[in-house]
Every structure is written in C-alpha cells, then in structure tokens.
C-alpha cells in the first residue's frame, strides 16, 4: 500500500483536541502529511477541517495532542511562529490589504529595507521574479484591489512560497475561481509537489479531489474518520465516509402536500450577482421546500434576491400565479413573503426592544393611531402570538435579548405572521438553537404548513432537510443541481447533487 506514497513524513498531528464553549470542535484528530504529496481534507460543513487547520497554523491553540514538524514537536501560539517554521495557509476568505500593491502585500511584515526606508523597487523586482518562477502574469506594482479574485489567490500562493514554506494549506482555493484559473492553480500545485512541498488541500469538489490529490482524509463531527489513497477509491467511498454518521432524526417518508395543491410561489430563471445563476423552482401551498447544498452554494443569496434584499439581474417571480416585481424587501413583504435570516441577531430582531415591539415591527401601520402607536393593540397582538407560538417569555414587555435562541426565533416568526405573510423563508432556522428548542421549531413549522402557510427552508444540516422537507432543491455554485422528492432523497443523493459542478 504505502509503496505508492513515497515521500517522507513532514508533519504529524496526533490526538488533537479542541473545545470552544459549548462545542467540542475536535476530538482526538490524527493527520499526517508527506513531502511531495497533495493531501485532501474533506468533510461536511462544520466537520472541523478549518478548525484543525487553524490549530496547525497557530490561529487557535489546541487543548491537547501533539504536532510534529520535521521530527520536532512544535507548539505554535501565533500565526507568525507557524509561518517562520515553514507552514503557510492560503485562506478561504482572502486576506488582502486591497489598498496596498501586490508586492507590498506579499512582503508585509518582511519588507526589503534600504537602511530605514522601505525599498519598494527591490520588492517589486523580487515579486516579479517570484511570479516568473510560478509562470504567472501579474504586475507587482498593481493595487491588490484591482486584481480578479483568481489573481489575488495567486498572490496569496506567491506570498506563502516567498516565506520558504515547506507545507502549504489551501482552504477551498477554487471556490471563487473560473475554470481557466483552476487549471492555472493546479499547474502551480503540481509544480509545488515536484519541488517536494507538502500540500494540504481542502475542497468540497469531488472532481478536483480525484484530479489533484494523492490521499484523502475525511473528518466528520470533529472526528477523524479515515484516510484513503485517492487512486484506489471512488467518489462514493468518500461520500459514504463523509455522511456515515448515525442518523438521529427519522427522515420524512412521504410528502404531506396533496397533489393538487396550488403553486403559491414560482421563480423562473432567477439571476442575481455571482451566486445565483438561472435558478427556477415552484413552491406549493402547505409545502416545506428544503434548500440544501454546501456552504457558498448560493442558497442564502437566492433567498435574499427573492426577498428583494439583493438586486435581481434577471428572471421572473410569480406569487399565486401573478407576476410580481420585487425591488426591495418592502415589495416582497407586500407580496406576502417573509424572510427569517440565518443571522437572527443582525437581521432578524432588535434585541434591545421588547417582544411586543418586535412583533409589530413589520406592520406598524396597522398598529398606529394617526402618528402614535396604539400600545394596547400592539400588546394584544403580541400576547396572542406568544400564546399561539408558545413563546417562553415572562411578559410581552420583556426585551428580546433575554430570551433563548429558540424563543427569539419565535418572535421573528410572529413578526411575519402578524404581517400576514403566507410564504416564509427560513434560513438555517435552528442554527445556534439547542436540541430541545429545535424540535419545538420543527413542530411549529409543521403547524404553520398545516394552516396553509408555505415554507422555504434553507439548511446545511442534511438530517434536518430530510426530516422536514416535502421536496428538496439542491444547489451548487449558484445553480440548481438537483430537485428531489422526499421519497427519493437520501443523504448520499443530496451530497452527490451538492458536489455536482455545472
């Protein structure tokens, strides 16, 4: 077996453990990397890949376990220590100073000096040499912010190489790249492998993993699952390892929506920005339509476009068969669409206001007496919905900040119900909510559809999607790559569609 992977081991992580308040993020994780190999690190969202890499690069400190680099045990407390010893990371979110030039970015913290003054000319020359070696065409004196994302990524790589890195970590490098840029990236990675560097490659794209990597390590729920030799395994082997957890929730067996239920929302060929490409789907009365996909698949962006929060470039939206033009959230709300943001605290509620004030926020016109707000009427409505939704709050005059996550979520739901919204978009409805409250939210969603409301539920948890949805739309890179009835849906089928490129 080992005959195929020949390089010496350069890096070993053993028994890495890391907890955050309330979350056991890494449980005794093992990982090793050889010189001259490209080693994929895979797993679902939240499996712990990025956390493991942050421990490796000194951004987080580990609770226990050992890291051995070139035979020496190391213990990094700052990113700089990891960089100095030869471990560099190309971050998923590009870490660039857009106002500085390319060369200034590459040599930040290690400027070439001319006495006390910075020698920008020398830095430009060195950067040009570096680009020449990598066969990239970038002007070192250009401002970073003027480059395409792909070129910026190349600069990050050049920066890592210029630090004499022996190990380079790529955290989802291809997410924002075009086809041609990915080819260029792979050329560079192959070149680095030739030069005997160790490469860790994090990606969700199955095709890429097969093309560029030598081994694959899979993580799940913060645990090490196993390591495979890429040549000897199939896509399905990897997917099975990624989703193979015990399923705690019983999936829904069949749709509760009658066959003749009318279509309440129809989206046709929606395009918005870079993340929503030609998306079409129907939502029927009384239906929970699950939106699944990996992080960055464009689900939230689709929801925001439908809700008028982001600009729609093209496409049509029909509500109850009538074409509507949605240019702002106000238009969407008037059409009866309510949006429950994944980031509740930022976009959903006003934490320093009371339950009653939040409840009437979207429909104040109905609670106004001329210029003044009718406090009694407001309270009445709030009490009604607190009872209906079983919101746990001492009074409706309690500030929302003191409620639990699940009950805050209920206040947001009440807000849209008061507004008479028949179409509700739930974006990660149970994120940051504890298990008990979770099933209460599920119960509530089922009750809402039973009353004839229709729900779009965006969720990154496959079990949640399978438990709640009547039908599932799967997205990948801004496109709809699958639509599954609940009968035919399974974790594997969703995962396959979610990693389908184009």
């Amino acid at each position: 077996m080992d005959g195929e992977i020949v390089g010496d081991v350069i890096l070993t992580m053993k028994g890495i453990d890391k907890s955050f308040p309330g979350v056991h993020a890494l449980k005794e994780v093992d990982f090793d990397l050889r010189k001259g190999e490209v080693h994929a690190l895979m797993g679902e969202n939240g499996a712990g890949k990025s956390t493991l890499m942050k421990v490796l690069t000194g951004i987080y400190s580990k609770d226990s376990g050992t890291i051995t680099f070139e035979g020496q045990e190391v213990n990094f407390t700052t990113p700089k220590e990891a960089q100095d010893i030869g471990i560099s990371i190309v971050h998923q979110e590009l870490n660039m100073m857009n106002h500085l030039t390319v060369a200034q970015n590459i040599f930040i913290g290690r400027e070439k000096m001319n006495g006390k003054l910075i020698n920008d000319k020398k830095m430009n020359e060195e950067a040009a040499k570096l680009f020449e070696r990598l066969n990239i065409n970038i002007n070192p004196a250009e401002k970073m912010g003027n480059l395409t994302v792909g070129k910026q990524q190349m600069c990050e790589i050049a920066k890592a190489i210029s630090r004499d890195a022996k190990v380079i970590i790529f955290d989802e490098p291809s997410a924002a790249l075009t086809e041609a840029e990915i080819d260029e990236l792979f050329k560079i990675i192959r070149d680095l492998r030739e030069k005997n560097l160790g490469i860790i490659y994090i990606s969700h794209r199955m095709d890429e993993i097969k093309v560029i990597t030598d081994r694959v390590t899979v993580m799940r729920d913060g645990e090490y699952v196993g390591t495979l030799i890429t040549e000897k395994c199939t896509k399905d082997d990897i997917i099975n390892m990624m989703v193979g957890r015990v399923i705690y929730e019983d999936p829904k067996e069949k749709s509760n929506v009658p066959d003749d239920a009318p279509v309440v929302l129809s989206v046709k060929n929606l395009n918005a920005g870079k993340m929503v490409k030609d998306v079409s789907f129907d939502l029927r009365k009384g239906e929970i339509l699950g939106f699944s996909g990996l992080m960055g698949a464009g689900r939230t962006e689709t929801a925001r476009a439908i809700f008028g929060a982001d600009k729609i470039d093209s496409g049509e939206i029909f509500v109850n068969g009538e074409k509507v033009v949605i240019k702002s959230p106000q238009d969407a709300v008037n059409a009866g669409i309510g949006y429950l943001s994944e980031d509740r605290k930022r976009y959903g509620i006003i934490v320093e206001k009371t339950v009653a004030e939040n409840t009437t926020m979207a429909s104040l016109d109905n609670f106004a007496n001329g210029l003044f707000i009718d406090k009694a009427k407001e309270k009445e409505a709030a009490v009604e919905y607190v009872e209906k939704l079983k919101t746990k709050t001492p009074t409706v005059d309690t500030k929302v900040v003191s409620l639990s996550g699940g009950n805050q979520q209920k206040v947001v739901i009440a807000k849209w119900l008061v507004r008479d919204c028949d179409i509700l978009i739930f974006d990660e409805p149970t994120r940051g909510i504890d298990v008990g409250a979770k099933s209460e939210i599920y119960h509530l969603m089922n009750e809402l559809v039973a009353q004839g409301k229709s729900i779009i539920m965006i969720s990154s948890e496959l079990t949640e999607v399978l438990r709640m949805s009547d039908r599932i739309v799967v997205m990948c890179e801004g496109r709809k790559t699958g639509e599954l009835s609940i009968e035919e849906a399974s974790q594997e089928a969703i995962m396959r569609a979610a990693t389908l490129r184009n």
Binding site: T78, P79, D84, M97, K143
Partner: protein, 332 residues
Amino acid sequence: MEKSVEKKTRAMGTQKLVAIVAMVALFIFFSIFGKGFFKYSTIVSVFDSAYYIGFMAIGVTFVIITGGIDLSIGTLCICCSLIGGTLYQAGVPMAVALILIIVIGGVFGLANGLMVSVMGLPAFIATLGTMMITRGLGSIVTGTASVSFPMGDEAGAWFKNIFKFQPDWLPQNMAAGIPTGFILLIVLAIIMAIILNKTRPGRYILALGSNKEATRLSGVNVVKWETLAFIISGLFAALAGISYAAINVTLMPGTGNGFELDAIAGVVIGGTSLSGGVGSIAGTLIGVFIMAILKTGLPFVGLQPHYQLFITGFVLIIAVFADVANRKKQGN
C-alpha cells in the same frame, strides 16, 4: 500598459483632484476679484491661519488611515498650551515648557491609542472622552483664568520666531514677517509623508487600515502600530497648541472645541478615506489650505469670515461625493 496607468489615476482618488482644482480656483478667484488679496501680507495671513489646523490635520491623518478617528485633538491642543503657559508663568524656562507641552500631547495620544487598540473601545468614544477630559483639565490647571504667552521683548518670546519671524530689519513690504511656521509645516509634512509611505511604521498603519485582520495574520503587531498612529496625532496636536500660542498669545481655557472638526474636514477634503487604508499627507495640506484661503479671502470680496464655514461645508460634501460616485462607478 495604458490600462494600468488609467487605473492608477483612478486609485489616486478623484477627491484629491477635486481638492487641488478647488484650491487653485479659489486662489485665482480671490486674486482677481478680491481687492488687494494678491499681496505679501495676505499670503502670510493665509499661512498664519493654516498652521495650527495644519499640524493637527497631519497628525490625525494617521489615525484616520487606520480607520479610526481622534476627536480629542482640538481641546488637547489648547490644554497642552495652557499647562505649558501656566508652568512658564510659574518660572519654568520656555524651552522646558515647550518640551513638556509636546510630552503631554504624546501621553494623551498614547492613552487614546491604548484605549482603542488594547481595551477595544471605539475610537469615537475613547477620544470623545479624552476631548472632555482635556477640555476640563485646561480649566482645572489654570483655575479658569486665561494664560498669556510672552511677546515682544520678553525673555521667553523667542519661541514665536519658530512660527513667525518678524525682525526689525525686514523691508517695508515684508513687514508681515517671514512665515517660518509655514516652512516648519512643509518640512514636517515631507517628513511625515516619508514615514507614511517609505517606512515600516507607515506601511503597517496603511496595511492595518486596509484590513486589520489580514495584517495581524501576516505576523504584524497591529496593537503597536495602531497605538503609534494615536501618539502621532497627540504629538501634532501639542505642536498645534504651541503654534496657536505663538500667533494668538492669549489662551482661554475651555476653548479648542471644533478645531478637530476643521482638521478632520481638511483631511477628508484631501482624499483620505474615513474607512481607512488610503490617505496622503499632501492631500491633507491641500485640504487645510483650501479652508485657510477661504477664511482669509472672503473678507476681500466683501463677505464675512463666517461664510468660510458655509462654503467649506459645500466643498467637503462635493469632494467626498465625487469620490463616492467614482467608486460606485467602478463597482466596488
């Protein structure tokens, strides 16, 4: 090739271009329509009214580049001089008093910097607090009495020559004196521009203003350099205080409010972005001079100086709007 040149001009900022055009246009306007504007004594008084705001503006440019703000410089500038002047009246030699003024400015700058970079207070709040503290402190130290700096033949009056050199032997047409303060302003502006653009501290201040987290992850000590920006701001506020004392002689406690906004307006007119990452000392000087020309020039066309505020407001809004509109056009 052409494309990159075009991009460069865009990166320079429409704002600065607008500022330069506005400055030249104003100067020409007043020279043509203002009776007696274009003469030596008037030019000198333009410079005179630019020193203290100019020093403050150079200093606060560094803070604004980090993405922060320093509201305390106006009252700090007066507070430092009140303390220095009180010490001088109590018998401390002028040279020592001047050094102490600068030190006090630096200490308050350090305090602002630590509150923002270490304690994590928003710069607006931290420096608003320091603004109130320094304003109050000036009154406490002086017992709410005004403080007069020496003038004429008095022993300590030599320091005024730093800002205005008026020896007897000057020819009649130069009786307004040699604006040495202007020379000092320019020299310091050049030095600070070199520090900003050509040294590590300047580079790191620009970098952290552009993307603090990225700068930190590059192994740069962002706490240190952010603090330094506030120290520079404090030191220049103190220097502004000395120049203000040199020109105005008598200082009242409780004043200085609003100077900071003049300085910040100058910085912004000059093209430094309030969101950080971009800025230039030359631009700041241009912004400050626009305001000084307006202040001095308006009476020559028959308008009272308070029209300066009225018109500066428009210049400020137009300059920033030009930049915002341009950025929108570029799509970022």
